[in-house]
Every structure is written in structure tokens, then in C-alpha cells.
Symmetry: C2
Subunit: 638 residues, 2 copies
């Protein structure tokens, strides 16, 4: 299995991403800490830190928030920890240490640590794995512990995590006397596998594999625990939230073939399957994960990389059902797709995994946070008519980003993705360096034949140009560069000399040896493309989405006026202009089009008037940063 | 105010409607009676007659169904009564008399008659006007009583109705000691006004006017009754079903300007306002009704005459929000729009009212029932992808008509509309006969100067041809013929001689005198028209709906294969063929078009393949009679 370059060995200085990461560091990290501490007036009360204080006995009070409220702290720590890798910050580290100390105080002697049950009655713990998210919370704790340990080398949270993992391991597993349960919301599988990798403790990996393979076995564990609580078994209920497919537990994961149910759960399950399967070398497990992933990216993914077509259950619906306005496309779900993709790429490298990481990162994930880093989308629709969002009770789409959410899963998830961006860029395998995403940075990779130091200078996403400069070669090093699916004719230059390289599995390979100062230059002409969707998707016939490189573009009311639906695209040249003053600097695309107008009659015969119109498009990730207004990704072709 | 020709004076023999009416008489009337008597295996149990039997003390048991279950009987009686006008049937009359006898037995000494409260505890009656539908049920009873009395002259049900009306009048009104309540679901206003007209009792009209004008006054009655029940006032709740606009009670009806809330309630309110305003000559009331009606037909009505854009609250949403797939467009709501339109036309005659009656009748109402008369749509969407209906939990659209509903409001409503079709055809005013709908029939109208007998022979909706033959003239008679909005160049011939007639307010007027045997022939060329929607509606830009005369057409999978969204319309001549063998005989329209195909990639660049395709369209009312399949009214223009 390939391994990522550790985050602490990467320093990002990217024209596109560094500003966003810096905003995350300077704005989102303190903002979220304030939110977790209930110090921001006017946003829904989190109660997250207060819950830990109550659980630790530091103060009196009752539990606030969702059963998974603790996870907001863990995700914040994970995100903050990654930030330290790129930007040491002793004050922030102290804040994290204080939170870890508090968590340690709240932890029970047997290792249990979930403030919901510590406060509300420990006797009920582990009685509702289906809905009460203890395992999900634990998974995020384990990820946070690994992140903080990997970046700082500090073990305090790692030890807290191990104690909780040991506690869970003592209660669950195939062994006599243990319960054969599994979580209703996946995440612990990935967390345990990361913990196993960082601690070398094989029990954690075994437990993760157990949780994965136990899902969907009959008789259903969720039935059993419900009966033990004296409740009706969920399988008897009609509500889809109560059916097993919502939890990806209607059948064993190895038998599942398509993405179903809650999209974030599905994504975390897949990431866990890929991580566990990768570590254990279990081909059956990784094949199953790849099969479901293929279903997603070929039939259930929006062009932005968003997934989850329906708000009912925040879920996948079915193949080719991808309505652009009425989607859920939760930011967390896009993140989970990136997390899965990067892991599948580590098992059997192929450019297609990096393509999806790129698609989600530049579009459906980045759209989740405002340019100023303080406001978030939970849902990322591809078409917004604000009046409908506000007046149709059945739409459940926010027309504008919100400051915080009662269910605050997305903000810290975006945070950990941005500050942990380095996790998605490179992989190593023996003496091979894989360059998956072209983000300007300097990095050091430990290869079989020694340490390789290099720099990447990239102009993406605005220009298809990246240079890799070898600072310190490793003797046996070879380099594989991912060729993005949007790239047409490519040029590869090594020290200025054009070099032919065959593409295989989405990569071109440069065999070494390399010398200090070698420069590998990749030129990928970046053209404006009009994309169509597969004929089986009902909402896109006759429409096009505009892309340039990895970026999906959109029409906004701010540039094109109201009633975007009356605009259509004509054939003609695209004009691209870089506007440094706009939306923190974007390439704007202008296309020739038409605007239709009719008289006021609701229904009428006769010709519709058409006037030439210049369509102005901005990157989708940047939409909604200029006040409330209409937005559309898919545009009618005139 | 204009008056309709009484139903008993009309005999319909129309090539288009008589078959549907006969199916209603022979199939739907006995089917529904069986359903009300719980004699049909496999359909949801009604319990309607059983409730009356329990209330009458004939048997023991508990109440079954909704709080408004009684209304199914009343609507069935209304529909069956109208049927007797066109087709005397002693056996059916006996069935109705038996039901009336049963209802009389169930009626309490003080006149109260609602089996829900008689069975469940009379002390709670009139304590929840907002949600418990007693007034709605009473309104349907009054309409049934009037219908049966008007057709048969029998007074038994009329007297039961008067006793209940007196009971309600004793409890509600502006007078000291009475309650200032009004119903959460309107209908009683129309029922009381009809009862006033048939009995000459002015108290009923006064009570109806009271109910209308009391709506929306502050402090809100719904708050007061909720507080009296010890509950939270609905105004404090967030759920839209609990807000006052859902009930058209957020402000006084005279101040309302747009259709809001539950669509059927809105429609019955408007019909009541028009009926009461028309009878009392209250211009303020009728102006308000007309204003709301204008809002509907100019901004909130589907091209089929369906209304109600959202399933949330079965409600109107807002101006120009008319999504074709995700609509509610309840059959009952379209009926209520026809009921309102015909009444507004009686107050200030204008062809536009008959246009809406025609649009709803031939499209959004008739689509509610299968050609064989046994299956019903509650919702009448303009676009159906069955897989989405079945798999997307948030869509809530049936892809196929159902045999019966737990909430069985639509089937008897369609029944009473079809058997009562004569109510929508003609109006009289002094010596003027208004011909609003061209349906073949013979009729007698009582004009100021005597009785006018005439026949109508119409080829509509397939040909724009109607002849009116005078059988027995009335001395001072003049005739006004509605010119439908779809008509282009018209020809009017009187006894074969072309006659010029100016159109005014949607009518042409023929001054008499007429002689026996005079034939007035109206020729309205009927062309296939491609209709577009107002630019303010977001879902229709670049699309067209095909109409011919009053009929809206649609694509069905049965004729055009799957994935209708890949079809688009080209310019070119329309081919019309009458197919006597298809769908009980329809004109099929064929148009030149294209089918787009793409390869299997979910998103791809490049040209989309186009192949010529012949589009075959059938009338919308007849869709869904050939098994489950896709349907679309609005088609992309290539």
C-alpha cells in the first residue's frame, strides 16, 4: 500500500489554497473554538466544551446538543493539529492541550469517554449503537489523537484514545462474552485503523475489521439492541430512516454494490473499508469499497463532486437521480468521498482517484465555506432560486451560508480538510513518488533509497502548469505524475527539454535518476469546456455545465441579473479574464448566449423573444459570497 | 346575478363527456357506495356508512377514518343526485333514500349531525373548528341536500340539512351569546348559501357571510379555541400547517390578495365568497374573490388548470413557483377552481371564467380519474419519472392512479363534477342565454319572456365546431356564445348565412328574435399550438407545452419510449390523427423532434448525438391508462 507523505513534511505555499488555509487558521480555528465554548452571541449554542466540563466534574449542568456533540471538539482538534504542521502556533497548541486535559479528566477509569452518557447515565452506554453515535464520536476522537500525535509527537490524546479503544474492544468483538454490535454511523473503523497504524496495536485494526464485517449480518444487531431496550425492532418500521439500507446495514458490506442511505455514513464506511482493507491486504474488502465507489462516481455524483441527492435521510437516492436544485450534497459527504478516493488510490494507484479528490476539493468541498472563512453551507445545491428556498417548505436548501449550525458537523470537517490538504497531495511507494494534486509546496519524502526533497510550483487551478524542482535527490527515485482527466494535449519538459511519456493508469512516469536542481515541468492546456451529462440523468438534457480545468463554473445573479433560467448558451469562443479584484481573485469566463423574454401572460402561444446576452461565469466554489442571489451550474444550450 | 339552467332541464348526449358520465354512473357510483360500505376487498377501509350506523344506534363499534369521513357520503349523494337528473334510476334513488334515512336516525335532537363527535363524545363538538372539519362536513351535507332536492324535489335530506344548519346557527354568529368562530376547512359557506337559495331562509346566507368575514379577525378565534382546549395557540407554532395563512385566516378575506395555504380550502373559500357575494350583491366580497382568482390564473396555475404547487400542506406556494414534477395539483383543488370560476362568471360575465372552467375540466380534473372510472389520482403532476416517484421519499407523487384513498376526497369530487357537468354549461340572465361550454345536449331555459328549448351539437374537444338549434324560441331571447381563448379566426353562421359578430368580454352576442329550427353554427379553427410559459416561471424556459383547442397534450412512455427528457421538439407541421381505438378515442398529435443520446460517461465534453424522432402526444387527461410509465407535458424546444 502507498503511504502519504506525513503532513509535517509538507509546507504549502499555494497561490490558490494558502489563502484559504490561512483563513481557516486565523479565522475558523478561533471562531470554532469560541463556538464550542459558547462565546459567540447569536449563533446556536454548542455546549460542547461545557459538556466536557460537566462530565469532568468541573461544573454542574445538563448535557447540551446532539448525542454526537463531542465530535465537534475532536474534529476541531484534528483540524487545528493539521494547521500546526504548516504553521506552528504555541498558543493554539496550548488551547488544544487544555482541551485534551479536560477530556482526560472527563474520561472514566475504564477508558469510556462520551460526555452524553457520562452526564446522562452511564448505565445506558452502548445500548443504542444504531442512533446514538458513540462509535462515531470515538472514531473522530481517534482521528484527532492520531493527527495531533503525528504533527506534534505528543501522546496525551493518543493515550486517551487508546484507553477508549481498549474499552470498546473489551465490549465488542467476535469473542465469547463480547457483543457483536456495530455503529449506526460509521467512522470508528477509520479511526481505529489510523490508531492501529500510529500505535502498532493490531487489536485496533482487528476490531475495525470486525465492525466492518459485522454490518448487515442476520439476525440484525440493531433489532437485538432495540428489543433489549424494549422497543420495536427498526426493521418493522416503515420510515426510511429506520431501514437498514439507511445505515448501509441491510446486507454485509462485501455484498453491497451501490451507495445507499445516509451519504456521510456511506462515505465514512467506504473510507474505513479502504483504510482497513489497505492495511490488512484484504482484497475482498477493498474490492467491495471500489465497487461502491465506482457506482458513486459513475452514477450518483454531481459534477461538483457533491453526493447525496435527497434531504430525506441526507441520503443517496438511486442511479442517475441527480436533481440540481433539490439535492443534499452535504459538504461532509463530499469530504468523505475525497477521503475514500485518496485511500483507494493508495491500494491500486490510478489517476481516477486523484480526479475525484480534485473534483471534490475544488468544487463541492470548497463551496461549503465562505471566502472569509466564517460562514458555511451544509447543503451545496447546483441551482438556487432564493425565493423558492425561503418559501417552499419542502425544499430545505439554504440560499445563503450560515454562521454555525445546531448540527455543526460541516464547519470543522472543512477545517480539517483545508488544514490537512497535504494529506491529499502525494503518496510514496518504495522509491516511487506519486504527485496527485498540483499544489505549490515544499516537501520531503522518505523513499527506499533515501530522503527526497522537492518543491512544487503550480499555477492551478487557473493555469495548467506545474513545476517540480528536485532540491535533494534520492538515488533510486522515480516520479509518477497524475494527468488530470480534464487535460488535453500535455507537454512534459525535463530541464527545459521536451520529453515524451506514456500515460498509464492516469499517470506518466519519470524514471530517475534525478539530480539536484532538476526541474520537471508539466504543461496541461486548460480550455473552457462545455460538459453534458449522461443521457440517463433526467435533469440535464439540453444543458451544459461549464468547466475550466478542475473548476466547475456557475452563473450568479450578481453578474447576470435575475431569472437565470432565461439565459442560454450559444456556440462561440469563451473569453477568460483573470480578475484579481473579484472573489479573492478568480478567472471569470464569458460566453455568448441569449436571454429569452416573454410578455406577462402565464401561458401563451407564439415566438419567444431572444436577445443576445453575455453570460458571465464564476467558479462554483466562490458562489454566494456577494449577497443572496440566484445561482445555476447547468445552463441551457440555445 | 346570472343563474345556471337547473340540471334537471339538461340532457347531455356528448360524444366526449357522455361516456365518462356513463362510466361514473355505472361504475363509480356503485363502486364508491361499496367502498363507503366497506365491501371492496383490498382497498383501505372507509367505515363511512358504519360510522352512521353506529351513530344511529343500529350497531356497536368505534369511529373509523378521518374526522371528515362523513363528507364522503355527502359528496357521493351529491354526485349520485346529479346523475339522477340525466339518468333516472329508481334503484339508485332507493339507495340514496336509505342513506338519508340512516343519516336522519343519526341526527341528534338539536340537529347536530357529525358522526365523529356523536360517536366519540358530543361534549367536544365545536371545540376545534380549526382542524376537525365539522363545518366542512356540514357544507358538503348542505350541497348534497340541495342537489338531491333540486333534482328529485324530495325534502328529507334538505330538512336534515336545515336542522343541522339551525343548530350551527344557534351556536355561531355575531349575536350575544354565540361564538365568533369559523371553520379551518372552508366549504360550509358555499353549502349554507346554496341552502339559503333553495329554502329561501335568509339566516343561512347571513351565517355564511358571517363565517367569511370573521376569518382572520384579531384576536384569532383559533387561538382562543386552542386556549380553551388547554393547548398552545397555533400562532405560536412554527409548522406551516399551524400558521394562519394555511387556513386563509391570517387576515380578513377582503384584505387577501393572493392564493395561499391549502389549495382546496382556498378554492372552497373562493367559491363561497363568490356565491355569497353574488347572492347578497356585496361587491367588496366578490371583488376580493376576483382578485385572488386573478392571482391564481395569472401566476399560480399549471397549464392543466391544476393548482397547489407543493405537497407540504397540499398548498399554494408563491407566484410563478410551478415545478412540473413536484406539484400537488390535487384533483379537488382543480375542481374548486372550476367551482369558483363558474360563480365569478355569474356575477360579472366574462369569457375568461369559462376559459378556466374549460381548462380544468378537460385537463386537470379529468386526469384525476382513469378511463375505466375505477382508479384515481390525488395528485396530478405534469411530469412523471416512475422510478423517482417510487424511490425518492421526498417526492410524494403516485406514478399510477390508485383504487381508493384513506383520505377519499377526490373520487367523489370527480363524480359530482362529471354527473353535475350541466352546472357548468349555461347561464341565464333575464332574456339572455349564456353558452359557456360547448357540450352536446338538449336543454330548456326559463327566460324572462318564456321557456327556451334548444339543442347543442358539439364536436369539441376534437373539432372547434358547435351548433345550437332552437327547438322552441322565447320571444325576447338573445344568446351570448363564449369564444374560447384558444380560438383564432372564428366563423359564425346563422341558418347557413355567415354573420359578423363583435366579441366583447369573451362573448359574441346574437340578438333575437329566434324562430323554431334556427341553427347557430360556430366554427372555431382548432390548431396545434406550442405554448410557452411566462419568463418568470423557472421550470419552463426553452420548453413548450402542446395544446389543441382546450386540451393539453403530453408525451407518454407508451408511445415514445423511456427517458422522455432526451426528446425535444423541432419546428415543423403537426400531424393530427383521430384514433378511435386508442384511449377511448383520442386525437393523437405527431410532431417532428430529436432524441439526444450520449455515451455512458456521467459527465463528458463534446457533441451530443441527435437523431430525428417523431414525437407522439396524447391528451393529458388520458395519460396513465396504459400501465406505469414516464409522462411529460413540457417538452424542450430543439
Amino acid at each position: 500500500m502507498l503511504k502519504p507523505i506525513p503532513l509535517k513534511n509538507i509546507r504549502i505555499h499555494d497561490a490558490f489554497f494558502s489563502g484559504r488555509i490561512e483563513t481557516a487558521r486565523r479565522v475558523a480555528i478561533p471562531y470554532m473554538l469560541d463556538a464550542l465554548n459558547d462565546r459567540i452571541p447569536g449563533v446556536p449554542r454548542s455546549g460542547c466544551i461545557a459538556n466536557f466540563e460537566i462530565a469532568a466534574g468541573r461544573k454542574k449542568g445538563s448535557f447540551t446538543g446532539f448525542v454526537f456533540q463531542d465530535s465537534d471538539l475532536w474534529k476541531w482538534i484534528e483540524g487545528a493539529a493539521y494547521s500546526l504542521a504548516g504553521h506552528p502556533d504555541p498558543e493554539l497548541e496550548k488551547e488544544i492541550d487544555r482541551a485534551i486535559e479536560l477530556a482526560g479528566e472527563a474520561q472514566l477509569p475504564d477508558g469510556y469517554l462520551d460526555t452524553y452518557y457520562i452526564i446522562n447515565g452511564i448505565e445506558k452506554r452502548f445500548t443504542n449503537l444504531k442512533d446514538h453515535h458513540e462509535m462515531y464520536v470515538a472514531g473522530h476522537m481517534f482521528e484527532a489523537a492520531c493527527a495531533y500525535y503525528e504533527v506534534t509527537g505528543k501522546r496525551a490524546l493518543l493515550e486517551i484514545a487508546c484507553r477508549f479503544a481498549d474499552c470498546i474492544d473489551a465490549h465488542f468483538g467476535p469473542e465469547e462474552g463480547k457483543r457483536r454490535g456495530y455503529p449506526g454511523h460509521e467512522e470508528i473503523e477509520l479511526g481505529l485503523a489510523r490508531l492501529a497504524a500510529d500505535t502498532g496495536e493490531p487489536r485496533y485494526l482487528k476490531l475495525a475489521a470486525f465492525f466492518l464485517d459485522e454490518r448487515g449480518k442476520q439476525p440484525y444487531y440493531f433489532d437485538r439492541e432495540a428489543e433489549e431496550r424494549g422497543e420495536k425492532a427498526p426493521g418493522e418500521r416503515k420510515n426510511q430512516f429506520q431501514t437498514y439500507s439507511y445505515y448501509q446495514a441491510d446486507r454485509p458490506v462485501r455484498e453491497q454494490t451501490a451507495a445507499v442511505g445516509h451519504a456521510v455514513r456511506q462515505g465514512y464506511l467506504l473510507a474505513g473499508m479502504a483504510e482497513v482493507g489497505g492495511q490488512t491486504g484484504d482484497a475482498g474488502m477493498t474490492d467491495a469499497a471500489r465497487r461502491i465507489w465506482e457506482n458513486i462516481v459513475s452514477r450518483q455524483m454531481y459534477i461538483t463532486g457533491g453526493v447525496g441527492s435527497t434531504h430525506e435521510g441526507e441520503a443517496y437516492s438511486f442511479d442517475y437521480d441527480l436533481p440540481p436544485e433539490r439535492c443534499y450534497t452535504e459538504t461532509c459527504a463530499a469530504i468523505s468521498l475525497a477521503m475514500t478516493s485518496v485511500r483507494l488510490g493508495r491500494i491500486a494507484p490510478h489517476g481516477k482517484y486523484g480526479d475525484i479528490v480534485e473534483r471534490t476539493l475544488y468544487n463541492g468541498i470548497l463551496s461549503g465555506v465562505s471566502l472569509d472563512g466564517t460562514r458555511y453551507f451544509y447543503m451545496n445545491p447546483l441551482e438556487v432560486w432564493p425565493e423558492r428556498c425561503e418559501k417552499r417548505q419542502d425544499l430545505r436548501i439554504d440560499a445563503e451560508r450560515q454562521g454555525w449550525f445546531g448540527c455543526a458537523c460541516c464547519p470543522p470537517n472543512v477545517l480539517r480538510t483545508l488544514t490537512g490538504l497535504g494529506n491529499y497531495l502525494f503518496e510514496t511507494d518504495g522509491d516511487t513518488l506519486y504527485v496527485d494534486q498540483y499544489v505549490s509546496c515544499s516537501a520531503e519524502a522518505e523513499l527506499e533509497s533515501g530522503r527526497l526533497s522537492f518543491e512544487v510550483e503550480s499555477r492551478m487551478p487557473w493555469e495548467g502548469l506545474a513545476e517540480i524542482r528536485i532540491l535533494r535527490p534520492a538515488a533510486g527515485c522515480r516520479i509518477r505524475l497524475r494527468i488530470p482527466s480534464w487535460a488535453g494535449e500535455r507537454r512534459l519538459l525535463v530541464n527545459g527539454r521536451e520529453t515524451e511519456c506514456e500515460e498509464k493508469d492516469g499517470y506518466i512516469t519519470l524514471e530517475g535518476p534525478f539530480r539536484e536542481g532538476d526541474v520537471i515541468r508539466l504543461e496541461l492546456p486548460m480550455q473552457v469546456k462545455l460538459m453534458h451529462a449522461a443521457m440517463h440523468t433526467p435533469n440535464y438534457a439540453g444543458r451544459r455545465a461549464v468547466m475550466k480545468g478542475p473548476l466547475v463554473y456557475c452563473l450568479e445573479e450578481a453578474d447576470n441579473g435575475k431569472e437565470l433560467w432565461n439565459l442560454s448558451l450559444e456556440d462561440g469562443p469563451a473569453e477568460v479574464e483573470h480578475r484579481a479584484d473579484l472573489l479573492n481573485g478568480v478567472d471569470v469566463i464569458r460566453l455568448r448566449g441569449q436571454r429569452e423574454t416573454t410578455d406577462e401572460a402565464l401561458y401563451a402561444e407564439g415566438e419567444v423573444s431572444r436577445e443576445p446576452a453575455e453570460l458571465t461565469l464564476v467558479p462554483y466554489y466562490a458562489w454566494g459570497n456577494r449577497g443572496k442571489g440566484e445561482m445555476a451550474v447547468w445552463i441551457r444550450k440555445a
